[in-house]
């Protein structure tokens, strides 16, 4: 099954995502911020990234830009999962190259559906 990376500075958030996607069979790895996420993404191939926007060290939008700059992650789906509901941030994310934008709190069934749709 596909490997999904979840990036969020809140441990409980990472656990919820891990639990939700893990129980339908995906392999989920965790990163606490954009910097760690970038490093992990380069150590191993990840099929989908789910990232928060507000994080220390490297925020979500910068992470998206950095990932899109890598050859291996040019077309990898990246979903932003965030408390930000403002159109401004959303447009920033879109122009940085994010595949989708989910507002917290997420509905576990919806998340699974979106992940399935995006991973094909």
């Amino acid at each position: 099954m596909a490997t999904i990376m979840t990036v969020d500075d809140t441990a409980s958030m990472r656990q919820m995502i891990s639990f939700t996607l893990g129980s339908v069979g995906y392999d989920v790895i965790q990163a606490v911020d954009g910097a760690e996420a970038l490093k992990l993404a380069q150590d191993r191939k990840v099929d989908l990234v789910i990232a928060d926007v507000n994080m220390p060290n490297m925020d979500g939008i910068t992470l998206v830009k950095s990932l899109r700059a890598l050859d291996t992650y040019k077309f990898t789906p990246i979903l932003m999962l965030t408390t930000e509901s403002q159109a401004g941030k959303r447009d920033q994310g879109k122009s940085a190259g994010a595949t989708g934008w989910i507002v917290k709190p997420f509905n576990p069934e919806q998340l699974v559906n979106v992940v399935r749709k995006v991973l094909g």
Binding site: D8, T10, A11, S12, M13, Q15, M16, F19, T20, D52, N54, T83, K104, P105, F106, N107, P108, E109
Partner: protein, 451 residues
């Protein structure tokens, strides 16, 4: 001026003389007298010096006036006027005597200024207080974020553990009740359902076997009945044969009698008649022997018949009882099977309900993340306000007026450090906060107390 100064300072010389005379007379005087005269001398000296100094000053003042006066001995009218004006101006500086209106205006301006100062002082006070309060708020917010993070993490881990265990429980139960897919093919029952089914089949088969055996015994009894009928028939035939033999014997006797009546010619006939008689006797003997055999057969048959009858009756009864028991058992096994199916259904329903609860928990557990981001978002405008207020406070106080309410001057320097940096988690805040928090903080006693 030496001579003049000497004559002017006559008081000085007088004082020195007084002291000198006292000192000269000192050795020859008793103590009390010496002290008394000493005091008197001191008073005299002080008075002399005071008088002398005052006199000197007055003379100096007079001299200066005299000097001024000496230089302008001959004044013209205009010069005199200007002189007077200058004096008046000078006198104004020394002792201003403004008109009443001016006085009132100045008083109003003073009042106004005082009110403004008061207002500024109060603003500064507010700014100062807000800084302190903001520090406390910041620390409390961080505290809340930290605590909710810990709680959320614990809840999340425990929740996942519970879910895993519930799933495991359901799986174990299902395995017990339904068994794994490949179990039934190996022949031995793997699950409760299988076991129930197989037991049912075997018991039914056993009961059927018993009934079949009972049936066979019944058949055998019927066969025996048939045999019994045949023996009775043979018995009947034997009777007929004996009757026939008897009649033949009688006939032979009659033949003998007729043969004797005939005389010599009937002798051959009477031999024949005797032979016939002997034949019929022989057939009697045979018939007897057959009859004996028949009797034995009958006895044996009766015995077998009796045994068979008992056996088959008992067998049948037994078989029927067994069959009844087996039917009852089968019914209860079917009942058990239904129970198993119901339990399986209930387990599935509960699993579905658990899935719904899991859904709710997963949505709710994201509360920590959302609330901590919202709380941290509160910090930025708070810090902005604090910085702005602090700058305002600094500028206000730089105007030179003493506007700071006389509180701990030390906290001001700390606010200074704070405003210079960005995030205020420095240890320097702790002293202030500890003081502030000590007022209304949580109790440090035991968690449960019975009175």
């Amino acid at each position: 001026m030496n001579l003049a100064s000497l004559s002017n300072r006559w008081w000085m010389w007088a004082a020195i003389a007084a002291i000198g005379s006292w000192l000269w007379s000192l050795p020859s005087l008793p103590l009390v007298v010496a002290v008394g005269s000493g005091c008197t001398t001191l008073i005299v000296v002080v008075l002399l010096i005071g008088h002398g100094v005052t006199l000197q000053r007055m003379q100096q003042a007079a001299a200066s006036y005299d000097d001024a006066g000496d230089n302008d001995e001959l004044l013209t009218a205009a010069e005199a006027e200007s002189e007077i004006e200058a004096l008046l101006e000078k006198s104004n500086d020394i002792v201003p005597i403004p008109p009443v209106d001016q006085m009132l205006q100045t008083m109003e301006a003073d009042n106004h200024r005082r009110r403004l100062e008061d207002l500024l002082r109060r603003w500064v006070d507010v700014a100062h207080r807000y800084s302190e309060a903001a520090l406390v708020l910041r620390k409390e917010i961080h505290g809340v974020v930290h605590h909710t993070e810990q709680a959320a993490n614990t809840i999340s881990s425990s929740f996942q553990a519970v879910i895993n265990k519930a799933t495991l429980q359901a799986r174990e139960a299902m395995e017990l009740l339904e068994g794994t897919q490949g179990g039934a093919t190996s022949g031995a029952p793997q699950s409760l359902t299988d076991f129930i089914r197989v037991s049912d089949e075997r018991l039914t088969k056993m009961a059927d076997e018993v009934v079949r055996v009972a049936d066979l015994s019944v058949q055998m009894v019927q066969e025996l009945d048939g045999v019994q009928t045949r023996t009775q028939a043979i018995d009947g035939f034997l009777l007929d044969v004996e009757k026939l033999a008897d009649q033949t014997s009688l006939l032979a006797l009659n033949a003998d009698i007729e043969a004797a009546r005939v005389g010599e010619f009937g002798r051959g006939f009477s031999v024949v008649a005797q032979e016939v008689r002997r034949l019929s006797q022989r057939s009697h003997e045979f018939s007897d022997r057959i009859r004996q055999h028949l009797k034995a057969v009958k006895v044996g048959l009766n015995k077998t018949y009796g045994d068979m009858r008992n056996l088959s009756a008992a067998d049948m009864e037994h078989a029927l009882k067994i069959k009844e028991d087996v039917i009852a058992l089968t019914r209860s096994l079917e009942g058990k099977n239904r129970e198993v199916a119901e339990t399986v259904g209930r387990i599935n329903t509960i699993s579905r309900e658990i899935a719904q609860d899991v859904h709710n928990v997963v949505v709710s557990l994201q509360f920590h993340d959302i609330t901590s981001q919202k709380l941290k978002g509160m910090l930025e405008p708070m810090d902005d306000l604090r910085r702005m207020l602090f700058h305002l406070m600094q500028e206000t106080m730089a105007t030179g007026k003493n506007l700071l309410p006389l509180k701990e001057g030390s906290t001001m320097s700390k606010a200074d450090e704070k405003s210079a940096g960005v995030s205020a988690d420095a240890g320097s805040d702790d002293a202030v906060l500890r003081k502030l928090r000590a007022v209304g903080s949580s109790s440090s006693g035991p968690s449960v107390e019975l009175f």
